[in-house]
């Protein structure tokens, strides 16, 4: 592969891209099917802001990111649960507050701010072994969650109220999912970047929604699409010297557009 893989940092970057891409892709299935775009966006950007704030305060970035995303989940989750409550405005406000906090933290960062800037644009090439372990741990948690609670997850899709009324612990599963989302974002921040992470979460799942009626396939397909977009994006970023986050999202969105154009579901929409 034209020297692409002869450097160790690129091998690590590629591994991170494959792992992170599949984790984000799988996370996106929840966002798309449970209609949590707005909630997800707030939580993922809160994780971003929290990580930046931790850098300013000299804390471990992981702690700041997880704490901020948990805080956001605790604030936003109950709002999203209220039946009939319009989330648009509340989320719009929370989202801009979170982003302004992120920018504030960036402004307060002393020195060359390389770490901070990396968190915004992402830098797959500076991925360390520890970053990989963190991502692998997150992957294990997320995939076990899906494996263990698959039937409950399926029961909640499109019929949350009925699932709740029948005695399924909807709330516990929903909040676990929000916490996992915070973790996924924190684990992928450094590689993908805070601005674009949510796009990598949503796009592969939105693509697979165009292609399958099976939840099982949707999870698999989103994982594969996320991993492919990340690997292709990394390759593009290496060859054209562009930030990997941007090229990854570009590839993912191209995939979505192609899927929308050729979606077999277009024919089915006869209602």
């Amino acid at each position: 592969m034209d020297g692409f893989l002869q450097y160790e940092f690129l091998q690590r970057g590629l591994l991170m891209a494959l792992l992170g891409g599949s984790v984000c892709g799988v996370m996106g299935v929840f966002v798309v099917l449970w209609r949590m775009s707005l909630v997800g966006m707030c939580i993922s950007h809160a994780a971003f802001a929290g990580t930046l704030a931790a850098l300013v305060l000299g804390w471990p970035p992981l702690v700041g990111g997880v704490a901020a995303s948990l805080g956001a989940a605790a604030a936003v989750g109950p709002l999203a649960e209220r039946p009939g409550f319009s989330l648009d405005t509340a989320m719009g406000v929370i989202f801009s507050v979170v982003m302004s906090l992120a920018m504030l933290a960036l402004g307060l960062l002393p020195g060359a701010r390389v770490d901070g800037l990396n968190l915004i644009w992402g830098s797959l090439l500076t991925v360390t072994r520890a970053d990989l372990y963190l991502m692998a741990g997150t992957a294990v948690l997320l995939f076990s969650f899906i494996f263990l609670f698959y039937k409950e997850i399926q029961a909640i899709i499109g019929q949350k109220q009925s699932a709740l009324a029948s005695g399924i612990p909807v709330r516990a599963i929903y909040y676990t999912c929000l916490i996992l989302m915070g973790l996924v974002v924190v684990a992928s921040l450094k590689a993908i970047g805070g601005f674009l992470i949510f796009s990598l979460i949503v796009t592969p799942a939105a693509t697979s929604l165009q292609l399958t009626y099976s939840l099982r396939y949707m999870f698999w397909m989103s994982a594969v699409l996320g991993a492919m977009a990340s690997a292709c994006g990394l390759w593009l970023s290496f060859h054209f010297s562009v930030p990997p986050g941007a090229s990854i999202v570009f590839v993912a969105v191209m995939g979505l557009i192609t899927a929308m154009l050729f979606s077999p579901k277009k024919r089915d929409r006869t209602r």
Partner: protein, 268 residues
């Protein structure tokens, strides 16, 4: 013990009960000291104008509606935060049919099978029994041949029947129906009501149905409760409820009761 429409079993034990229940949202109260006692095997219909608190009342039995004063009991046991999960397993709640994305990766069969999951419990996969329950429920509502279809592609009436099948797969003792015929055409309404009548006799279910369809009320129910502005206006036997002045007081519009071939119908 067979239960027919006109011979409710008065000795049957009380299954679900409200005693002076008050539901408030901040300063504004939605239900004022409402009492209702539903015996096993009875078919109750809850009627009243929009905003009277009917859906709110329905959610009291399975803990979806938090209440301030009074007592809610199921099978003699007070419904509390601690036992509400256990009680929910025995109560199926069919909500008004909502639009879902036609691309949703969820088949009719998967949706119905989902009704068995809560009772099955966490960490257990559906087995033979659950699959049989789901197939039986689909057959009861007449949708066995649509099992593999994506749920989002069904018509409103069909989706309402799927919701009913899902509730049946739960093997409930009490069935709560929230306007099962709202927004459906005549044929779909008829199909749903026929399904409800059939399964109720087949499975000896206790039913509480919220509806605006007065003719369905008198066709199916043996007991009627009338709710207006969060207050119980009247409750009693369905035959006695079909009175113009009572219905007029409830809906505040002139209503005429006509009779055709021994069947009463309300006209406004």
């Amino acid at each position: 013990m067979p239960i027919s429409k006109h011979s409710p079993d008065f000795d049957a034990p009380v299954l679900a009960e409200l005693q002076d229940v008050q539901v408030c949202c901040g300063q504004h109260c939605i239900l004022h000291d409402v009492s209702l006692s539903i015996r096993q095997g009875e078919f109750w219909s809850l009627i009243g104008p929009n905003g009277a608190g009917k859906s709110t009342l329905l959610g009291l039995f399975n803990g979806l509606t938090p209440f301030r004063g009074g007592r809610v009991a199921y099978a003699g046991q007070a419904v509390t935060a601690r036992n509400v999960r256990q009680i929910r397993l025995k109560i199926a709640h069919v909500f008004q049919v909502m639009d879902i994305d036609p691309r949703m990766p969820l088949s009719v069969y998967e949706s119905v099978l989902g009704g068995t999951y809560a009772r099955l419990g966490l960490f257990r996969r559906p087995g033979k029994r659950e699959h049989r329950l789901a197939l039986d429920a689909l057959a009861t509502v007449g949708l066995a041949d649509m099992a593999g279809q994506p749920l989002g592609q069904l018509s409103g009436g069909q989706r309402q029947r799927v919701a009913l099948a899902r509730a049946l797969a739960q093997e409930p003792e009490l069935l709560l129906l929230d306007e099962p015929t709202a927004a459906l055409d005549w044929q779909a309404q008829r199909d749903i009501l026929d399904s409800i009548a059939a399964l109720r006799h087949e499975r000896k279910l206790t039913v509480l149905m919220v509806t605006h369809d007065l003719n369905a009320v008198f066709h199916l129910a043996e007991k009627v409760a009338m709710l207006r502005d969060g207050t119980m206006l009247w409750q009693g036997k369905a035959e006695a409820a079909m009175q113009p002045d009572l219905l007029e007081a409830l809906y505040q519009v002139p209503i005429v009761v006509a009779e055709h071939n021994g069947r009463k119908a309300a006209l406004f």
